[in-house]
Point group: C2
Chain length 112, copies 2
DNA sequence: TGATTAATTAACTGATCAGTTTAATATAAA
DNA sequence: TTTATATTAAACTGATCAGTTAATTAATCA
């Protein structure tokens, strides 16, 4: 798969608060589907499908332990996201008064 | 809007290669819709809608200059994305042989 | 074996996405 | 005042999303 498609999948997977919460839980350690589902007011199949999205994005890895399917975080795609985002770091670190001036100038043109 | 919803919008906006390419172009400087549309094999309304998604996510700011609607990058949401992602930095920076061992162990259990 | 537990699959629904074409709006230029 | 340019809006389509309930699979336990 192309890098770009990997980013598509990672960003899409991260665009959901339930899935981000699942990753936050997995950052503390590997666990099972039922335990992951616990905090959410949502059916188990719904969680199962979120896990599939995360797995397809490479953000989790699933194993098997008897009737359990332990999930573990795989942070590699997050590194790719961070590298992509870092392209823009110098821009968001630019002095804010400068940014504000640009934004204000555009708005003035638009409104006036 | 809640921080979490801002992240939802930012991640969703970034989950599309056309929109990421638009941001890359805007990193070089503000420009108009037609010029942004140039490289893409896609109708102008399609680009216009992508720009709306980016605007709703706060990733671009739009002004007005006669019949032109200049677009400028606003990197603030990217900073939020970077901060969110950084929570996981220590995990993806963990030694890879350790990660590999964990992954291998899970797969062995699954297969064997 | 039969019952229980863990998790997924299947089938369905309503909402949103990404694109199209056609029509409309706003400004500039002839 | 007509015409051209830049852009958006509207209406539509097919695909994907996020959830549901009911059924199924896989393993454990009594």
């Amino acid at each position: 798969m192309k890098d770009s498609e990997q980013l598509d999948l990672a960003f899409a997977a991260l665009a959901n608060p339930t899935r981000r919460a699942i990753l936050a839980r997995l950052a503390q350690g590997e666990t099972t589907v039922n335990i992951l589902a616990g905090p959410f007011d949502m059916s188990l199949p719904a969680i199962s499908m979120h896990l599939r999205v995360l797995e397809n994005a490479g953000l989790i890895i699933r194993g098997r332990d008897a009737q359990f399917r332990p999930c573990a975080l795989n942070a590699a795609p997050l590194k790719a996201v961070a590298l992509w985002t870092d392209q823009y770091r110098s821009i968001w670190e630019a002095r804010f008064d400068v940014m504000d001036a640009i934004i204000k100038a555009m708005k003035d043109k638009a409104d006036g």
